[in-house]
């Protein structure tokens, strides 16, 4: 748990946080600063995204048309406005001769303007409205598919993938994807249309002025490239020293007790200063260089503005261009930069999106659990005999941990699994529950291979109380009812009584309705264990799997747990990961595990007389206390 959280937090340094990120409302960010994550297969990922869009493609095409239309209307605006200025100018020239401005023509132009803007606004909003829906539907669908996928993946997958990794796919990666769909695609189209449209307008107004204006573009391009190159170096350095600094902060704060008890505060501050200094020096440089962008582009833009005013003015004097068109032209040059810089950032956004999509689709395409049996065995209840026949198993194929294991368990027997921590005691449990499939051999329950049951069918016969108590953020009642979702309130309370939990639950402020908080730390470890026992009692299993370890539980609670477990085991086949001598002694069969393998089996007396691993274990552990 704690390592997961750490991972997540670490990732946060480098990834935009959800919600406030680029996706929603933030625009596209400046192009090219900082390293961009690159996908492995750019085309393939986008192909997958497009295929995934499915029927939405029609809607997206429609909104694309709207976006183009709205941009075209927007591009027409300055030009039309220019004709109005010209009208006024003409009227002005007529004034010495008693003439005046032709207001009905100006009025007509204004009406056209109003219509242009009105349609522009409507198209633009409808486009945004629909795309918001599309991207939300896709986000919703993707997340649900990931959620479904989690339940179909084998545990093998989660052995090699951290929870933080899966979580970041659910949140960050899907968010990046939906952000690009929501805003990016529309903006991409609009920018492209705007660039082409503005260019056409400019050329038709004056090819000469267009030439002048276009000289600005490469100039800004070269400057931009130069700055980006320079600043990228510093941005990477900044990222690096920020990572080091944050790493130091995190380590020192989580190890505060160590630092204090060994008097390491001073050394810690000194190390901090080194990183902080580095961060300062590359930080301000990176920001200065990236901050240069705006003034320089502004300056180049102003130069262009001056050039156009002067040349345009000269042309107007000679009558080869009208005043209104100069005005329109100035507006076009002012507008041109924005879509161009957005287009410049497109590559980075597309790559980022492809990288995110790659991770999401890779997860969705992971190999799933083997399919269920075609004609599954199904029983309401089973007797509870279990046979292990020549079991061979390894978490990966190369290194088997169980080489050859045979055992026969009669209904109602008690089996104790003993061994050191890390000896692999839970491996047997995981095989029985079919969390993992054996490499070879067969496990039979009531005479049928467990692979001939459906997984849920098989597991419905088992009840499991593990040391790692899993409770969720909900009321106590909900947590107990988890064992059988259809149970009534009275059944829940009976189960709690049988689990010796009723008493302490009643002492809580809201009794059964008390909320277990997110960290599940408002009840004690022992109480948690009792709740999980109650949950298992409620599920009324035929075969039990119990983990007896009661570390971090005070002696009295431990007695309660012991009693509850004894209640539970009555009349059922039970597998107990045993720690208590009384359990081990009274077991019908003891499986002794060492380094992942079952090295001995038999009952207490036979094993003790074997003088093997068990007897050594037994003597080393018990002489101390029983002396």
């Amino acid at each position: 748990m704690s390592t997961d959280r750490k991972n997540e937090r670490r990732q946060d340094y480098n990834r935009p946080p959800m919600g406030g990120g680029r996706g929603r409302g933030g625009g596209w960010g400046r192009p090219g600063f900082g390293p961009v994550e690159k996908p492995k297969d750019f085309k393939g990922s986008w192909g997958q995204i497009i295929r995934y869009l499915g029927a939405e493609k029609v809607v997206i095409t429609f909104t694309a048309l709207l976006a183009v239309a709205s941009t075209v209307l927007g591009v027409l605006g300055p030009r039309v406005l220019g004709t109005a200025t010209d009208e006024i100018f003409q009227g002005l020239l007529r004034m010495p001769g008693g003439g005046s401005i032709n207001f009905s023509r100006v009025g007509n132009i204004m009406l056209i303007m109003i219509c242009l803007h009105a349609f522009n606004i409507i198209f633009n909003y409808v486009q945004g409205f629909i795309m918001a829906g599309v991207s939300m539907r896709i986000t919703y669908r993707l997340r649900n598919e990931i959620s479904n996928k989690i339940h179909r993946l084998p545990f093998k997958y989660f052995d090699k993938t951290s929870h933080g990794d899966v979580l970041s796919r659910i949140t960050n990666d899907v968010d990046t994807l939906s952000g690009t769909l929501n805003q990016g695609m529309g903006q991409l189209l609009m920018s492209a249309t705007a660039v082409i449209g503005i260019l056409i307008m400019m050329i038709t107004i004056s090819p000469l002025l267009t030439l002048v204006a276009m000289m600005i573009l490469p100039a800004s391009g070269i400057i931009m490239r130069f700055i980006v190159k320079r600043s990228q170096k510093y941005f990477q350095q900044q990222q690096k020293s920020l990572g080091e600094l944050n790493g130091h902060i995190e380590e020192m704060f989580t190890s505060h007790a160590i630092v204090k008890s060994f008097g390491g505060e001073k050394a810690s501050v000194e190390a901090f200063d080194v990183h902080n200094k580095e961060l300062y020096s590359c930080g301000w440089k990176a920001n200065f260089l990236s901050g240069l962008m705006m003034p320089i582009i502004g300056f180049v833009g102003n130069m262009g503005y001056v050039a156009i005013v002067v040349i345009g003015g000269a042309m107007a004097v000679s009558g080869s261009i009208s005043v209104g068109m100069i005005q329109a032209f100035i507006q076009y040059t002012r507008q041109f930069g924005h879509p161009v810089s957005q287009l410049a950032g497109v590559a980075a956004v597309l790559q980022q999106t492809a990288a995110a999509a790659e991770r999401v689709f890779a997860f969705l395409n992971e190999e799933e659990e083997s399919p269920e049996a075609a004609n599954p065995v199904a029983h309401e209840h089973i007797k509870g005999s279990v046979e292990f026949e020549n079991i061979k198993f390894g978490y990966n194929q190369e290194t088997p941990v169980i080489h050859s294991f045979n055992a026969k368990v009669q209904p109602g027997q008690k089996i104790a699994i003993v061994g050191h921590t890390g000896a692999g005691k839970t491996t047997i449990v995981k095989l029985l529950m079919r969390f993992y499939d054996v490499n070879s051999g067969e496990i039979k329950v009531d005479g049928a291979n467990i692979q001939d049951y459906t997984r849920d069918g098989l597991r419905s016969h088992f009840g499991m109380v593990l040391q790692d108590t899993w409770l969720f953020n909900g009321t106590i009642e909900e947590n107990i009812r988890y064992g059988r979702l259809t149970a009534t309130g009275e059944e829940v309370r009976n189960a709690a009584r049988a689990a010796q939990a009723h008493h302490f639950i009643q002492s809580f402020p809201e009794s059964y309705h008390m909320e277990i908080n997110e960290e599940a730390d408002n009840i004690s470890a022992g109480q948690k264990q009792l709740l999980t026992i109650a949950r298992t009692i409620l599920s009324d299993p035929d075969i039990l799997i119990l983990d007896e370890a009661t570390s971090n539980v005070d002696t009295r609670t431990e007695l309660l747990i012991q009693q509850a477990m004894d209640n539970l085991m009555k009349g059922r086949t039970s597998f107990v990961i045993a720690h208590r001598l009384s359990t081990i002694r009274s077991a019908d069969l003891i499986l002794v595990m060492k380094d992942g393998d079952i090295v001995e089996q038999g009952n207490h007396e036979t094993l003790l007389s074997n003088d093997g691993v068990y007897s050594r274990l037994y003597n080393s552990q018990f002489d101390a206390v029983e002396a």
């Binding site: 748990m1 390592t3 409302g25 406005l81 200025t85 006024i88 009227g91 005046s100 100006v106 204004m110 522009n120 606004i121 909003y125 918001a132 939300m136 986000t139 997340r143 339940h151 929870h163 979580l167 659910i170 902060i249 380590e251 020192m252 704060f253 989580t254 007790a257 160590i258 204090k260 008890s261 060994f262 390491g264 050394a267 501050v269 000194e270 190390a271 440089k285 200065f288 003034p295 300056f299 001056v306 050039a307 005013v309 002067v310 100069i326 050191h420 997984r455 040391q467 899993w470 064992g483 997110e518 004690s524 599920s539 370890a549 570390s551 005070d554 274990l617 552990q621 018990f622 206390v625």
Partner: protein, 642 residues
């Protein structure tokens, strides 16, 4: 926010300069439309009316425009050179102050904030403030200057049309305000829903085994779907409201243009306005609108930074509950104490707790003896360790070490005497050597606490004059009488010289040599943060070695043997007895097996001492002890790695 303003103080000349530069930039930039109007009025219109070409006038005006453009660019670049330095400088100082402050915190302050929260405050929150400082000059300061300047210029050109600008600004600000008011609280909700989605997902991932065991997949899918659905529909709503902003800006800009032309045309007809002025007015009003847009976009970031600033200020203004005394007493240097620890009627209550965690605790841990403390979880065992280390101060009674109240000596003095082995065997990133010698180096302040790669190429780091106090070298050749040397340095802590002997000795006693020798890089093998790349047992042995390496007078084990197998545990305790015969050993344990040979065992129950004596005595006299002993069993390792 205001509290952090003082960090700007040292930079006031820079800030003043920036303001002046921005004023200059705005002034220069706003001259351009004005001059354009001149070209139109006195060049183009003049030519059309009088048939005289004033090319020279146009070129001259163009030259002036170029000059102003250059001026604006220079001012803006200069301001852009100064402001990131100030922003980064302010952030650096804040970050350092926060970090130093937190390093001085005692455990009580850590409990109050939680270390995760302190990390965020020192990293993300400072970054937020720095970001705001960065955009401050670029936008927050400049946009209003430019906007106000543009209004001034526009009104100067055509005062009777100024209402158009007012209208545009009102509509713009109104729309932005409306969208913000609708969307902002929803943003918060979205963040909460994202957290919830994360929480549900995390719960599912952690509980996968239980979910599959109970076959409740459908239930979990539904649970996820509900949160997912809530999040999607909330995001959809926000997305659709936010989609208003783009068209709204088009509306304001387009509307302004139409109004300027329509109204302007009438004024031109009345000869109240020249056509050049009308064009200039239009450009100024666009500039006003853009300024206000920039301001409102940036304003969205301000509340976030404000929250961060408040969180930082909270850390900085927290009073540290444990501070060194003004006139500290000193342990007798010439006659080094033996490390006797005495609790006298100690009561302790955690801050904000209702009941005492420890109540009337009195005992003496004598040098050369092992004093064990045993009890169930929650009995207050670890609290005793934390009190000895003075991570908390006692509420009542007193603790003395070598007859001095630990409140009367400097914390560093006290802790230098104690070799503390924490429960989890927490290690720091670096090498095996840097971890074992951490206590040595740390107190000398010579080597950064996070050596990482520096152990390979860190000589230059150590060589920096401002970091070296006293010469430290791990490559010092072991002198022949290194054992002697070792002892001497204990007695004269002013010039400690850790030698390889210290390292080897500590590792040997801690039974760590065996696995260290197996590693390729031996003592220089890398240790990742928290020591996650070595096993739990190895971690514990290394942290025992770390405590031994400072040759402590008091060794404090907080349940430190739980991950060791029986053989190692026994060897270790034998070696400890041999090599630390003079030291005061305090062992906190849950397992009876670990402490049954201690000279004195103290049994704690719910913060009170319920029994003391040796193992045999307690079995007979103390029912709580017997209960623990009887219930203990094969629980080896207390469920470390499953």
């Amino acid at each position: 926010m205001r509290k952090l303003m003082k960090y700007l103080k040292p930079y006031w000349p820079g800030v003043l300069l920036i303001v002046l530069l921005l004023l200059g930039q705005a002034r220069a930039e706003l001259m351009l439309p004005n001059l354009m109007a001149d070209i139109v009025n006195d060049g183009v219109v003049y030519a059309a009316e009088h048939g005289v070409y004033r090319t020279e006038f146009i070129l001259r005006t163009g030259g002036i425009m170029l000059f102003f453009a250059l001026l604006a660019g220079t001012a803006s670049i200069t301001a852009g050179y100064i402001s990131p330095r100030i922003a980064a400088g302010v952030a650096r100082t804040i970050r350092r102050d926060v970090f130093t402050k937190v390093e001085s915190f005692s455990q009580a302050e850590f409990d109050k904030f939680s270390s995760a929260s302190l990390i965020t405050r020192c990293t993300n929150d400072v970054a937020q403030v720095q970001m705001l400082a960065n955009i401050f000059a670029r936008t927050l300061l400049y946009a209003p200057i430019l906007g106000l300047g543009a209004i001034f210029m526009a009104v100067n050109r055509a005062v009777h049309m100024s209402w158009i600008i007012a209208l545009a600004v009102i509509v713009l600000v109104g729309t932005v305000a409306l969208v913000t008011v609708i969307v902002m609280p929803k943003f918060k909700l979205i963040q909460e829903l994202v957290d919830k989605l994360n929480k549900v997902s995390r719960e599912i991932l952690h509980g996968l085994m239980v979910i599959r065991a109970f076959g409740t997949r459908g239930h979990e899918v539904k649970r996820f779907d509900k949160t997912n659905h809530d999040l999607a529909s909330m995001s959809l709503f926000v997305g659709r409201v936010m989609a208003v902003t783009g068209p709204a800006i088009t509306l304001v800009m387009g509307g302004t243009q139409v109004l300027v032309i329509w109204i302007g045309a009438h004024h031109v007809a009345d000869s109240g306005l020249t056509i050049g002025d009308m064009m200039a007015f239009m450009q100024y009003s666009m500039q006003v609108i853009i300024s206000f847009m920039m301001i409102s976009f940036v304003m969205v970031m301000v509340p976030r930074a404000q929250v961060s600033a408040a969180r930082i200020a909270e850390v900085l203004s927290t009073e540290v509950s444990i501070v060194d005394p003004a006139t500290p007493q000193e342990f007798d240097k010439n006659n080094p104490g033996k490390g006797e620890v005495v609790f006298q009627d100690v009561c302790f209550k955690y801050p904000n707790a209702e009941a005492n965690a420890l109540d009337g605790i009195s005992f003496t841990a004598k040098p050369g003896q092992t004093t064990a403390i045993i009890g169930a979880t929650g009995a207050g065992k670890t609290t005793i360790a934390q009190l000895i280390l003075r991570f908390y101060d006692v509420s009542e009674g007193k603790i003395t070490v070598d007859c001095l109240n630990i409140k009367d000596v400097r914390q560093a003095e006290l802790r230098r005497k104690i070799g503390y082995v924490p429960q989890k065997g927490q290690l720091l990133s670096g090498s095996i050597e840097s971890n074992i010698l951490y206590g040595k180096y740390a107190t000398e302040g010579a080597v950064p606490a996070m050596p990482k790669k520096q152990w390979g190429g860190g000589e230059q780091r150590r060589g920096k004059p401002d970091e070296v106090s006293g010469s430290v070298g791990r490559n010092l050749a072991p002198t022949e009488n290194s054992g002697e040397h070792y002892k001497q340095h204990r007695e004269t802590p002013a010039a400690p010289q850790p030698t390889d002997e210290t390292l080897l000795q500590a590792a040997k006693i801690a039974q760590a040599m065996e696995f260290i020798e197996e590693k390729d890089d031996k003592f220089l093998s890398e240790i990742s943060q928290g020591g996650t790349n070595v096993s739990g047992g190895q971690r514990q042995r290394l942290s025992i070695a770390r405590a031994l390496a400072i040759n402590p007078e008091i060794i404090l084990f907080d349940d430190s043997f739980s991950a060791l197998d029986f053989q190692t545990d026994a060897n270790l305790r034998r070696a400890l007895r041999e090599h630390t015969a003079q030291a005061t050993v305090i062992v906190i344990a849950q397992r009876v097996g670990t402490i049954m040979n201690a000279e004195e065992i103290i049994v704690l129950d719910k913060g009170k001492i319920v029994g003391r004596g040796n193992h045999q005595q307690l079995l007979e006299t103390c029912p709580e002890y017997k209960e623990i002993a009887v219930s203990q069993n094969m629980a080896n390792g207390q469920g470390e790695v499953q």
